[in-house]
Symmetry: C2
Subunit: 361 residues, 2 copies
Amino acid sequence: MAQAYAVILAGGSGTRFWPESRRARPKQLQALAPRSQSSLLAQTVERLESVCPPERMLVATSRDLLPAMRAELPALPAEAFLGEPIARNTAPAIAWATSEIAERDPDAIVIVLPSDHAVEDPTEFRAVVHTAIESARDGVITTIGIRPTRPDTGFGYIEVGGEIARGVHEAIRFVEKPSVERAREYVAGGRHLWNAGMFFFRARQLLDEVSQRLPKLAAGLMNLRRTPSTERARAVEELFAHTESISIDFGIMEKLSKMHVVPGSFGWSDLGSWQTAWELADKDGRGNALGPGEGAALVLDGSGNLVRNSAHQPKLIALLGVSDLCVVHTDDVILVLPRERAQDVRSVVAELERRNARDLL
Amino acid sequence: MAQAYAVILAGGSGTRFWPESRRARPKQLQALAPRSQSSLLAQTVERLESVCPPERMLVATSRDLLPAMRAELPALPAEAFLGEPIARNTAPAIAWATSEIAERDPDAIVIVLPSDHAVEDPTEFRAVVHTAIESARDGVITTIGIRPTRPDTGFGYIEVGGEIARGVHEAIRFVEKPSVERAREYVAGGRHLWNAGMFFFRARQLLDEVSQRLPKLAAGLMNLRRTPSTERARAVEELFAHTESISIDFGIMEKLSKMHVVPGSFGWSDLGSWQTAWELADKDGRGNALGPGEGAALVLDGSGNLVRNSAHQPKLIALLGVSDLCVVHTDDVILVLPRERAQDVRSVVAELERRNARDLL
């Protein structure tokens, strides 16, 4: 029986968790999940280990991040890490990794997972993953759809059809990020799931789709496969230089004539902002999320605050008479903003880019 | 002609500028005045130097603070520093220092000044001081009264009578901290000045008043004067152990049958809280006081904030979408509070005392 391989997408350079996430230490390398001191990436690998051992995992990331990634995941062999020379969104990264897997076994089942999400119930997660693997083994590209818990307008949705096998449904279509009204309808109707960017397919099958829909990318991969291993670095550069930047959703998944979806509820979060981090965190009786480390934070006459202290150099963070703020302390930055402005952290990052403050990015 | 001596009161342990002011480094040792990197104490000495040279200055402080005080004022001789074994308010401190001066010259003019205030116009300050010295030389205990610039309810006021000599008025009476309505009347009426705790008198004259009004303190001083210099440390301890804790205002000044006051306007501030620090500070076009150090603070979409960065370990302090906050960063603390709550910083200090967090006090 064909074995399962995992492709972990770890190329993101998300700025919404600045100042903890940085160009050199992006979100997936940060311990942002509640009740854990591990990075999101390490948790992603750990969560998957009983499904797919480290020697069958690939990590697709940017070339600059390779040393940090290898250091974070010492159990993975050196060749498990694919370094993209330039960011070209998810389709080229997934296609390249899949072609590496296909070289070993064209019938392999490939599991594609983001590296920067949180899962509260890993046991339930693995049960859903096993169902999705079986669906992919049956020859249909499969995704996991998260049962929505609120009318979130920040996600794409997947409309679900009838149950085809135990836990496996027909995916009717992908829906773009909706309005609030539409999102409320989706949650009430029970027929829409969040698209969490998790995909399951046979290696050869995905490469066939790439050949049909993204011919430039397919040509680059073909060239890469013909290149002797000693010259592959240059071939990878050419591949990324000449392919278009496109997501796997838009380039392939939304265009498939047939797709399956496995609905899942395992406490998933995309950890989209400091607001999400506050929602997931343990809180005191007044809704203050003060993080680990007793006595490291003190709130008098305030509620609903998120405090993140530096792990290396914690200081007493004392809040008096303020509510619903995020206060984030790292080795070189102190950030203060209202929780409701969490999405705008990127504007601080943009301003620092304008000032050319490289050390702080 | 009798010379002028200065008694600088530096025993305060103010908590309203926590976390910059600490037990071991109280407010007078901090650089809290705008546009200056010197401590308030060093500025007090500097402001007075042309009136009274360092060898005629005494610094009354707590015994614990003696090493820090000596380090801060290396130009003063070692014997200039009087270390109070326990805090007993201003009357014992001033009486002790005056008795030391009287031993050198009973006719000396004594200038008593707090060490933790700010003065924007030192030239005008010195002109007022010279007038007050001349008034004291004429045999009447004299104070400086600050012309009020707002109806502040945090100060005591002095009611002013007719002009006796150029710039010198009769002081009619001391008035306790007033209600807002009363304070508005005072400001509008032009007959009330702020009591800034500055006093001028002949040494012997003050000691006569102490003998009349504070006999226990006078007896302790008498005993001290009779004690051989090698045993004086013990005599000082006895003096402070047996005297009552009382301010010079309440113990002596408010009870005088005759007193003079010199009105002054020299940009005086008692620097009472972070709110006052913000009021005095240089601000950007949106009322943000970001302190010295370009690029050390960044405010997006916010106004009226006070940012105080650590001098030793500055970090980028980034504020997004918050207004009228104080953010104070020291080597071991980050404090965030609304400016309007500045008076309540002491409640944070009280909570840390309750937690026995000595390192942070």
